[in-house]
């Protein structure tokens, strides 16, 4: 049973409701959750930066290895060196914060540039772009990252740089596709007929009006991906290196005791990863639906 009802008898011509009133409740829920996660991330980042932590995340206590939650006042227990998991979780986000942003920045900026060239100039540039895409796609990313790490050093920034670069094609093709779509709808021609300078058309009318949702979503997904990649690398030993905590290397270190029935050391960070990434995905989804006005038609 779906319910529609009109409140006012007279509706003013011009005033529209603000977007959050138009939006579907699920979308709002998504976005709310997403924003909650984001704030949580920011807060824990701040806490970590300000050293407002229950324990010193580096404090080793050899007498208390892999202690279960609650023991010795450690809310989430301790890890394989007796360090407080909660504190390390809070600090752990820092491992992704800037590197993740770096990855996103690279993939979005380069990707957008390439995409615009491909979509706008079309023709000549297109094969080059797709060639670059396939080039990046054509080798298992993890192995590529390993080689790069070996060539330079196991530093999360190098890793994320690679992640960013390998993320470029995806973004590029998204943008290019969007622009081609606009072309088909003769949007761009119309704009240029109006005598708008190219950069205005590209920046304002194409990127801002028509691609911002794509970019936002790209960004949110990118952050999630950065975390997952670092985690996979950690399993192979090449993630963020001890003693710096990252959720990835925490899961990895804990997982070594998982099959012996000691869950907490890996479960806590694994769940942190889960809920965070979920948050990013839902945020992207919700924003997409709201800004693109899906479900309303």
């Amino acid at each position: 049973m779906k319910h529609y009802s009109q409140v006012a008898g007279e509706i003013s011509q011009y005033s529209d409701l603000p977007f959050w009133k138009k939006a579907g409740t699920t979308d709002l829920a998504y976005v709310a959750y997403g924003l909650f996660v984001v704030t949580l991330v920011l807060v824990s980042y701040a806490l970590g930066a300000l050293k407002l932590l229950p324990y010193d995340p580096q404090q080793i206590s050899i007498g208390l290895l892999n202690a279960p939650p609650g023991s010795g006042g450690h809310l989430l227990g301790t890890d394989f060196l007796g360090r407080d998991i909660l504190s390390r979780l809070i600090v752990g986000i820092q491992a992704y914060f800037l590197p993740g942003l770096l990855a996103i920045a690279i993939s979005l900026s380069l990707g957008t540039a390439l995409g615009v060239v491909a979509g706008y100039r079309g023709g000549s540039a297109d094969p080059l772009i797709s060639y670059f895409n396939d080039l990046v796609d054509s080798f298992p990313r993890l192995v590529l990252i390993l080689l790069v790490i070996a060539a330079f050093k196991p530093d999360i920034y190098y890793v994320m740089a690679v992640v960013g670069v390998t993320g470029v094609p995806g973004v590029a093709s998204l943008i290019a596709g969007k622009i081609r779509f606009l072309r088909q709808k003769n949007f761009i021609e119309a704009a240029s007929v109006l005598g708008l300078p190219t950069h205005v058309i590209i920046l304002k009318h194409i990127l801002w009006y028509n691609c911002r949702t794509l970019l936002i979503i790209g960004a949110t997904l990118g952050m999630g991906e950065a975390i997952l990649i670092e985690t996979s690398l950690s399993y192979l030993g090449f993630g963020v290196q001890e003693p710096t905590p990252s959720w990835g290397n925490m899961v990895q270190a804990g997982a070594n005791y998982f099959l012996q029935g000691k869950f907490w050391p890996s479960t806590a960070p694994a769940l942190a990863i889960l809920f965070t990434i979920l948050g990013f995905h839902l945020l992207g989804d919700g924003l997409n639906n709201i800004l693109e006005g899906k479900r309303n038609k």
């Binding site: 049973m1 779906k2 319910h3 529609y4 009802s5 009109q6 409140v7 006012a8 008898g9 007279e10 509706i11 011509q13 529209d16 409701l17 009133k21 138009k22 309303n296 038609k297």
Partner: protein, 366 residues
Amino acid sequence: MTAPPLLKIENLRTYFYSRSKQAFIRSVDGVSLQIARGETLGVVGESGSGKTITALSILGLISAGPGVISGKIGLRTDTIQKNLLQDLEMYVTLGQRDGKIMDVAKDEAGWRENAERIMGRLRGKEIAMIFQSPKSSLNPFVSIGNQITEAIRLHTSAKDLKGAKERAIYWLERVKIDSPRLRFESYSYGLSGGMCQRAMIAMALSAEPSLLIADEPTTGLDATIQSKIVDLLAELKSEFGVTTLLISHDISVISRLSGSVAVMYGGTVVEYGPARDVLSAGFAPKHPYTGALLASVPSARNIQQKAYLQVIEGEVLDTINLPRGCRFYARCNRVTEAIRKKCAGDEPDLREISPGHHVRCWLYFE
């Protein structure tokens, strides 16, 4: 008109809901029409007057909510007599405030299910439809021949592929597509708009429907093609005598093809009657809106009389905000002081002022 009409629409309401304004868009607001067998009813009106929505409502193709919420659509062909909205009202409950519907609760799943049960057997077979923008209305991934063949195999006795193909080619011929065997294989993107529309017509007629709904069949085609399509329709009509509901904003097309005409404005029928009465440019009594429409069309007579074309003042009514009184009041240029209060005050109903000729205007009521 003694024979019972083929299609009898009574008090049809189709609403949409604007989330951003939290209000109903009353696209079709109590429309009643009927078409006698073999007749062509022309529905004329500015865009946004609800013509197309009426047509889609008949076929049950309204997907957005709430959609059709009340009314009767009686169809009576050789094979079936039934109300297409048969006991669907049970899925809808309406809440009114001072004569306006302000609340709609609709079990859309249930409605869809039942409507599909009824319409499933009728669409294409009893009622066929051709749309404006024929290019996009044809499946770009299937050759037009195959699309027509599909319709034939679905609805006619020709079930075997070869027979159906032959039939399709025959129809392509009938709609004057040259070298039909060749065209059979071609895709919509390779054809001109006119060609596509011909193909659409062929596809619609190939199932030999009892009722053909032509929704702005000529819109968006260039003038020469338009007249060709109109000629084609006229010819096919005289040949097969298929009952047609012709929707257009172009009075010349309407007057060319239809026996009777309904003029729609703001989701209602404001005038309805035989074409000769409604469209005669003389001073036969008619609705000011019709008058205005006619005046805005370059017809032979206007030109002879060197009369100026008049534009209709004001904007098309948006069906979100309905005035209390006559919907056309705001733009009407024939309001007399005598009736001004009425016009502004309450809405007139559709009255028969001469046999078969109905008008919705206070001018003609004493």
